[in-house]
Symmetry: C2
Subunit: 179 residues, 2 copies
């Protein structure tokens, strides 16, 4: 939480009655106690296996690999994805002491090699660490399944003129045939 959010919370608390603040504090404690990680995909969940993993209407042959639970929430908002997820819990970052063993990578390889998954979509943000993680995980999974990654290019509503050079270069490089 950044300083602005912290200030907002502090001012909110001071404006409320003591009983309201007690309810809030209790809710925070309850959330911490009740919410853990799904034992299949590592998304935040109040139950041992999360709602997405338990949903029989989700396509279990396709797995979307993301950095953390916020990305699952962002992807769910698009309503475009009907498969399941696997949350890595971060990206490989030697500078911060985060190697592959600190992430949920072993469990991912196990899932992919044992569950007959047909496609793994790597949906990891395009930072230096993100790229490293994408390539590392991709190499590990390729022997077992088809591995794809999300597209990089011009954001919607974006103007060519205002796109940075790397984005434009990626948009050109990633061009595809018109339907």
């Amino acid at each position: 939480m950044g300083p602005k959010s912290a200030q907002r919370l502090a001012l909110h608390i001071l404006k409320r009655s003591e009983s309201e603040v007690q309810t809030l504090a209790q809710s925070i404690l309850d959330a911490k106690k009740q919410v853990g990680l799904c034992k299949e995909c590592f998304h935040l969940s109040a139950t041992p296996v999360c709602e997405i993993c338990r949903n029989p209407n989700r396509n279990k042959n396709i797995l979307c690999v993301v950095q953390d639970s916020r990305d699952v929430i962002a992807l769910e908002k698009t309503r475009e994805y009907g498969g399941k997820y696997h949350v890595l819990g971060g990206v490989i970052s030697p500078m911060d002491g985060i190697g592959p063993e600190q992430l949920n990578i072993q469990s991912l390889v196990k899932r992919v090699s044992q569950e007959g998954i047909k496609e793994v979509i790597l949906a990891i943000s395009p930072s230096v660490e993100g790229e490293t993680t994408t390539l590392y995980v991709g190499q590990l999974l390729k022997p077992f399944t088809k591995v794809t990654r999300i597209a990089f290019g011009l954001p919607m509503g974006g103007d060519l003129e205002y796109a940075d050079e790397v984005t434009l270069a990626r948009a050109l490089e990633g061009r595809r045939e018109l339907d």
Copy 2:
């Protein structure tokens, strides 16, 4: 030119000596007189055929179609593209009275059908008018050559969490197999 740029120019002029302002005014007149449009690609040019079209090292089998000259400048900055261009001079926008006949589309079809071009890349910004133009031009050119479009997706350095839903959906839809 917007109001801020106009004000900046006005203040700049008032600060300078009269002779400096005369030089500036003359330069503006000269620019207007000397710079026209390349008769091949319609990019801004001080010569009848622009530097890019005259450059024998540019690949003449590949054509990148853009909305206006600013996009040529933006794409040239990436140093990733070695082909030639075709500037439409705008996008189809019935609300503004701009139909296909107001744009450099006929000349594009002529170039593509006569010059043996192997690929046309449509690099038009993803607005409603831009999409209409992309689809319209694409249909016209398909009988003659391979037609591709630039990729839409996550901009470089962009975080999944902060991408809008349409961009994320396009990034998912446009996923490609990992090399």
